[in-house]
């Protein structure tokens, strides 16, 4: 709840806004997936900081599940772009 976590949340939310603007500007599927990969890493870091703010250890479990699901999504889209289903 101190100033450091709020500075960190400020950097991360500014990054999420820039990432969403970049996601709207991209044309190719692979470029969009690159930007989405960066945005999921940003949200994973932001969830760790949120678990520090609320002092709750359960948010870290949600963070691990979120990281696993985003990793699967990136692999599935890359494989589908390369050779189809």
């Amino acid at each position: 709840m101190n100033i450091v976590t709020w500075i960190s949340i400020g950097f991360l939310s500014l990054g999420i806004i820039i990432g969403l603007i970049t996601l709207l500007k991209m044309k190719l599927v692979v470029e969009k997936m690159v930007v989405l990969d960066v945005i999921t890493t940003l949200i994973t870091g932001a969830l760790v900081v949120v678990s520090l703010i609320f002092k709750s250890s359960f948010v870290l479990d949600i963070t691990l599940i979120y990281a696993i699901l985003s990793f699967g999504a990136v692999l599935v889209v890359a494989r589908y772009t390369e050779r189809g289903m």
């Binding site: 101190n2 450091v4 976590t5 500075i7 960190s8 949340i9 950097f11 991360l12 500014l14 990054g15 999420i16 820039i18 990432g19 603007i21 970049t22 190719l28 692979v30 470029e31 997936m33 690159v34 930007v35 990969d37 960066v38 945005i39 890493t41 940003l42 994973t44 870091g45 760790v48 900081v49 678990s51 520090l52 002092k55 250890s57 870290l60 479990d61 963070t63 691990l64 990281a67 696993i68 990793f71 990136v74 692999l75 890359a78 494989r79 772009t81 390369e82």
Partner: protein
Amino acid sequence: MSALQIIGSFFLIVGSYFIFVGTLGVYRMPDVYNKLQAGTKATTLGFVSIALGAIFLEPAWAWKLIVLAFFVLASNPIGSHALARASKNTGIPAVEKKKEDGEK
């Protein structure tokens, strides 16, 4: 503030700054491959630094954060490698290198 809190705050701010710089690099780079380069290295370093700072701030959660950091450290290069191979095999061209002013 104790010494652990100061070290943890330093790592937290450094990590979030590196993730922000990585996102800015994805916004600025001209090509898919340059975007992958900027977006994967800087965000992996930033996330590991954020997890290290959280370990210093809350030492009781160390094992969950270590598992999370190792998972991101293993899964982020695999995903970027798959994306780079897909974009190379579908024939997306790389950008040509431009000559700087004064270079022959």
